[in-house]
Symmetry: C2
């Protein structure tokens, strides 16, 4: 698929990463472990290791501690509904917002068009659904700027400006050989990442971008461009908090295109329950082996699902992991626990969604909010 | 400069074309001569051969004859003032407007940024100057849409849409290996050319684009994209009227960057007079040789300047050409005639400019008018 450039990370296709440590060496992603104790507010995603790496997170931690202005920026390609992977990123945006960040959230409908051929008009309903989830998860709309790429002229113009200093060699090295539209979507994404630092939004300041590892190429591009435009626009290098890819229930990367093994936030709780029941696990083939050898929670989509459910805590998850590893818990029990927690969450989330649907409709119809 | 692709025509740099006939073979530009008699309204630019080629001009001629809706579209990169080359294109836009076309005129400030590094804010004054010239030359603002690329969200979104079906191979074949920003400017230009056919402006219809030969690659790209999007957007292939490049007074292509050999429309008439006096000509080195061998008006910037001056007619120009070729006119006489005509035009044009400056300021400040 990619004749050269990044062999491991592909922001456009479903990437599968088995060895996250290699990303430290190959791409210079920094490991999160050494800075974990410096986070002023702990989060189970950090402690359990869903987030595994970062790029220059220190200015963000400093801004939090010193109560200085900073931004959190992320977004979604409105090609399908929220799944656990999209939720994880939204949760991270909310996490930083609650620690003082002004939040930017981009509906990447230009990317949905360039990569998936879905026209902005046709991704509008999905965008509304996505924004409803984002708000239902707890993003404070009063301290956020939510916008559609296709409707935001200032993003277009920033993208046009950034494009002026992009050699094709940089694009090819970052993304491999791609159609023109993919490159264009990447430049627009770099503009999204740098938008919080424009004069329109108060000028240069630390910005943290929570992303899945497959989006790291876009972080690298935005960071590279921030340097190329530092003198002119005074941009500082954006920071990133980098997450492992969310596994689907068949242990591949969770992909919106494989709905049978993907947990959506707006789906019927009973259907979700069935998906968990049919999920693969990290367990042994027989009860006997499970009791004697123990399971592997690090490879278990059911365990991973439980990390995503709001009710679980780091402490509980660590205990469950130990029980699994020692063979004290069987997969059936674990699936039941997971299904219960999940149904509880989905029911509550559905109620929350009802409260925010109209605001989400307004945001998407208007093109932006904040 | 260009390792592959079009060896002759470069829309980004100053091209020099010595053999226009080769463009018929190499690029499939169609010769104008065979269709010249089908133009309902003659024009000296056609008759004298400033326009030498076309692409699919027939639907335009048919629309004029049958009084059907059609559009004329062109523009300028606001990197410098109007010179005789920009005037020629503006005259062509006005020519088609007077025959029923709705006129679109684009201030290509995104291209000025990508190619020349001039930010839209910094090209605003030049844009005002350009639009003032356009209106002073006679464009009817009531039947025109004049806009700045950077301010026109619908152009951005059309460009984003077009980009989705552009293989990099097409860009490389059309423009050679270029920085990303050049490609982006080209896609935006294709969007400009197809804008008249969008729903916003009444849907598909014949559109003629008067351009200098060096811009033919962009015509090819826009035509290619119109086919790729025909099913979806119903675009018809845009037509083009293709002009020879305007020679500067030292016989290279007239370039805005060489002000000493370039005639600007807003310049001081006395300075213009001096430029003509110092101009190269198509004449012989001595009076004696001129009398016996005759001059070469086809290679003479002074003769070419006289084509541009509004007062001259086809008949007068043909007579002058014959006199030059037969050695009856000397370069000095011709320069004097040219300088007088030019000063007359520039003085009158200055008066016209004064009338339209405020409207041009309004158009550029607002980003669009029409």
């Amino acid at each position: 698929m990619i004749p050269f450039g990044n062999p491991l990370l592909d922001p456009f296709e479903d990437s599968a990463v088995s060895d996250y440590e290699r990303l430290f060496e190959v791409f210079g992603i920094q490991p999160l472990a050494p800075v974990l104790s410096s986070f002023p507010v702990r989060h189970k995603y950090l402690d359990i290791g869903l987030a595994f790496g970062h790029r220059d997170i220190e200015p963000i931690l400093k801004a939090i501690k010193e109560n200085q202005p900073f931004a959190v920026m992320s977004g979604i390609k409105p090609s399908n509904q929220y799944h656990m992977g999209s939720k994880k990123i939204a949760d991270a945006v909310i996490y930083f917002q609650r620690q003082g960040a002004f939040a930017f959230y981009c509906i990447a409908d230009i990317e949905a068009y360039e990569v998936n051929g879905i026209k902005p008009d046709d991704s509008k309903q999905t965008a509304i659904d996505n924004v409803t989830d984002l708000l239902a998860l707890g993003l404070d709309p009063k301290r956020a700027f939510i916008y559609r790429q296709s409707k935001r002229s200032s993003v277009h113009n920033l993208a046009f400006q950034l494009a002026g200093r992009v050699p094709m060699s940089l694009m090819a090295a970052t993304y491999g050989e791609r159609p023109f539209g993919y490159y264009l979507a990447s430049i627009v994404q770099a503009a999204d990442i740098l938008l919080p630092q424009t004069e329109e939004f108060g000028g240069p300041r630390p910005t943290v971008v929570p992303v899945g590892a497959d989006q790291d190429p876009s972080i690298r591009l935005a960071r590279d461009l921030s340097v190329r435009f530092h003198r002119q626009l005074r941009f500082v290098k954006p920071s990133a908090l980098i997450f492992k890819l969310t596994r689907s229930l068949d242990q591949s990367k969770m992909s919106k295109s494989k709905s049978e093994t993907c947990l959506f936030l707006s789906e019927d709780p009973e259907a979700a329950k069935n998906k968990v029941a049919n999920s693969m696990t990290g367990g042994q083939p027989t009860t006997r082996e499970q009791r004697s050898l123990g399971g592997n929670p690090d490879r278990c989509p059911v365990y991973e699902t439980m990390i995503h459910v709001p009710k679980t805590t780091t402490q509980g998850l660590v205990a469950l992991r130990d029980q699994c590893r020692s063979g004290r818990t069987l997969c059936g029990e674990c699936k039941e626990l997971c299904a219960d927690l999940l149904v509880g969450f989905l029911n509550k989330h559905r109620e929350q969604r009802a409260k925010y649907l109209s605001l989400a409709q307004y945001v998407v119809e208007e093109g932006a909010f904040g």
